[in-house]
């Protein structure tokens, strides 16, 4: 009886030891697995973190580039606009001065030739010399003396406001041609603005 009890105890101890060993192995293996999983998770998060970090840095760079473009772009435009206004102001002053000088110029000498060439050009454009000629009060005498070369033309009693030159009209009033110095300057202005601006140091 006593021998049997001892045998049973020993077998129970062996079973318990076996279970303990098995459990220990399981626990250790689980711990190893958990450790390896956590390493894996950590490794993955490092890559993910690095990706996120790179993305944030790239987005930041993009945003900075955008802001730089905005700031540089708008300040360039502002500076350019100020320069444009300054140049335009200077060009206008040049024209005003030129107009002033032309209107105060002497009506003797070559001026009669200028009026003749203006009349010549105008009658050619209208295709007839049977025209009524308009001019300002200052040029009336010069124009009147030139009209002899243009058969059928007559000087209107009305005067017009201009620096100089002539405006002609067909006798029926259907066709008009403006060949005043004012009109010439208006037509010339866009063409010579660049030359004037260049003189002020604006790059071509």
């Amino acid at each position: 009886m006593g021998k049997r009890v001892i045998l049973a105890n020993s077998s129970l101890e062996k079973t318990i030891d076996k279970i303990l060993d098995q459990t220990e192995q399981d626990v250790l293996s689980n711990l190893d697995g958990a450790l390896s999983d956590s390493h894996q998770t950590l490794d993955n998060s490092v890559t993910k973190l690095e990706d996120e970090y790179d993305k944030i840095v790239a987005d930041g760079r993009k945003e900075a580039d955008k802001l730089e473009k905005q700031i540089v772009g708008s300040s360039d435009i502002e500076a350019r606009n100020k320069q444009l206004l300054a140049v335009e102001d200077a060009v206008s002053r040049v024209f005003t001065k030129a107009v002033e000088e032309i209107s105060n110029s002497d009506r003797s000498g070559d001026y009669a030739n200028l009026i003749k060439s203006l009349l010549d050009e105008s009658t050619k454009v209208l295709g007839t010399s049977e025209v009524t000629v308009f001019t300002n009060s200052k040029d009336r005498d010069v124009v009147q003396s030139t009209l002899g070369s243009f058969a059928g033309s007559e000087l209107s009693s009305e005067t017009i406001e201009c620096i100089g030159g002539v405006k002609i009209q067909s006798k029926d009033g259907a066709m008009k041609f403006d060949n005043t110095i004012d009109a010439k300057i208006d037509r010339l202005k866009p063409l010579i603005r660049k030359e004037i601006a260049t003189k002020f140091g604006v790059k071509e």
Binding site: I77, E88, A183
Partner: protein, 461 residues
């Protein structure tokens, strides 16, 4: 430009819609510029449409409202309409006739160029083959724009084509070269708020510095719209072929241009063609679209993106129909995607860039570009079929592979197609998203990509 003046005629025979008929006119020329002076001294511009029998028919750009037969004079200026051009036009805002709208003086001109342009000698044309990055994934990835190409955007009323136009104008660039790049933006008959949006959008992004804006708003005379694309293209040609820049021209909305053409045609009592548009609509549109291109021996290029809103979303309407014959592909904005809130709502299955194949690949974008684009195109097409099937049999009736394609369709729309209006994606970012979509498919479904590319870029299981 000449310093000679023109003859002023005072015998106005008739005023009919936007047209003025002048009597007893001698020596007028076709397309000659005309200054129409009203009773109170106001001057409006026009051009000669027809001459003969002592009469000239003049089309007044600013409309004939307020003109009367007595007291109106027409001065034939003796030259065609010209646009003053120089590098200074960059950063400027003009109206539809090319007059400054930004409170600044006229640009100091290097040249005055006829706005009707010189037709390009076909023999001198160079085949377009260089990529333009718009920063919009769906265009760069699947409907690639190439320098010198004309690629229209077909949209419908109320859709987000103007947002897209402004985004392209802000973001477009040429990659891999130091060449100068410029954008010429012509708004034709747009609402005031839209015009302001375009201006502000370019100004605030700093892109105005390299842009030229022509704004013709809806309340401007319709006839002005005939001129707007022409002045814009004249400036673009100057920047491209004289200054060697790569120029992207965006014309929105070409439907308004065609409406103006119809108005003039009706006033001239011409025999109407389809939907009342003139029979020469095709020829007229081609005179604009064909001004895009590259020339042998010249550094620059003119690329066109005309935008048109299709009346009733009808792609067979004469304007998109005739445009499609002339241009090299089309980008179609889809109503369904727009209703779903997708931006940009581009329907890729109806869109195509005919020159894409020449502008992508090794040396331009990346060697796998064409293949991955084809695969995604194919997968999205299949996804649409599966969606239609799911609408009938339900999701439960779909196979596993069908479900994967459905997933591809969703990722395509959410991650690739959808993009914020201020999001500028590089071509590398775009290709990375395309590979993300392809990687949703099992490897055995990838049939259009070489193995070496699959090995390198595939991220699936």
């Amino acid at each position: 430009m000449t310093t000679e003046g023109g003859v002023q005629y005072s015998k106005i025979a008739e005023i009919k819609g936007p047209l003025v008929v002048v009597d007893d006119v001698e020596n007028a020329a076709f397309d000659e510029l005309v200054e129409v002076e009203t009773n109170d001294g106001e001057r409006r511009l026009g051009k000669v449409l027809e001459v003969g029998n002592g009469k000239a028919i003049v089309q007044v750009f600013e409309g004939t409202t307020g003109l009367s037969i007595s007291g109106t004079n027409a001065k034939f200026v003796g030259k065609v309409m010209e646009m003053p051009v120089s590098k200074e036009v960059l950063g400027r805002v003009f109206d539809g006739l090319g007059r400054p709208k930004d409170g600044l003086p006229d640009p100091i001109a290097d040249k005055f160029i006829d706005i009707n342009g010189e037709p390009m000698n076909p023999e001198q044309r160079e085949y377009p083959k260089d990529f333009i990055q718009t920063g919009v994934s769906v265009i760069d990835g699947l409907i690639t724009l190439v320098r010198g190409q004309k690629l229209p955007i077909f949209s419908g009323s109320g859709m987000s084509h103007n947002l897209l136009a402004a985004q392209i104008a802000r973001q477009a660039s040429v990659v891999g070269t130091d060449d100068d790049f410029a954008v010429v933006f012509a708004a034709i008959g747009v609402q005031y708020s839209e015009a302001e949006y375009f201006r502000k959008s370019l100004e605030e992004s700093g892109a105005l510095k390299r842009s030229v804006l022509f704004l013709n708003t809806a309340d401007d005379p319709a006839i002005e719209r005939i001129i707007t694309p022409r002045v814009a293209l004249t400036v673009a040609e100057y920047l491209a072929f004289e200054l060697g820049m790569h120029v992207l021209v965006i014309l929105t909305d070409m439907t308004n241009y065609a409406e103006a053409l119809r108005e003039i045609s009706a006033a001239r009592e011409e025999v109407p063609g389809r939907k009342g548009y003139p029979g020469y609509l095709y020829t007229d549109l081609s005179t604009l679209y064909e001004r895009a291109g590259k020339l042998n021996g010249k550094k620059g290029s003119v690329t066109q993106v005309p935008i048109l809103s299709m009346p009733s979303d009808d792609i067979t309407h004469p304007i998109p129909d005739l445009t499609g014959y002339i241009t090299e592909g089309q980008v179609v904005v889809g109503r369904d995607l727009f209703r779903q809130g997708v931006y940009p709502p581009i329907n890729i299955l109806m869109s195509l860039s005919r020159l894409m194949k020449d502008g992508i690949g090794e040396g331009s974008t990346r060697d796998d570009h064409a293949e991955v684009a084809n695969q995604v195109y194919d997968a999205y097409s299949r996804a649409q079929e599966v969606r239609a099937l799911a609408g009938i049999v339900g999701k439960a009736g779909l196979t596993e592979i069908d479900l994967k394609y459905m997933d591809v369709g969703d990722v395509f729309e959410k991650e690739f197609l959808s993009q914020a209006t201020d999001e500028n994606r590089t071509i590398e970012e775009t290709l990375a998203i395309l590979w993300k979509i392809v990687s949703k498919l099992p490897k055995n479904e990838i049939t259009k990509i070489k193995d070496k590319h699959v090995e390198k870029y595939y991220q699936g299981e």
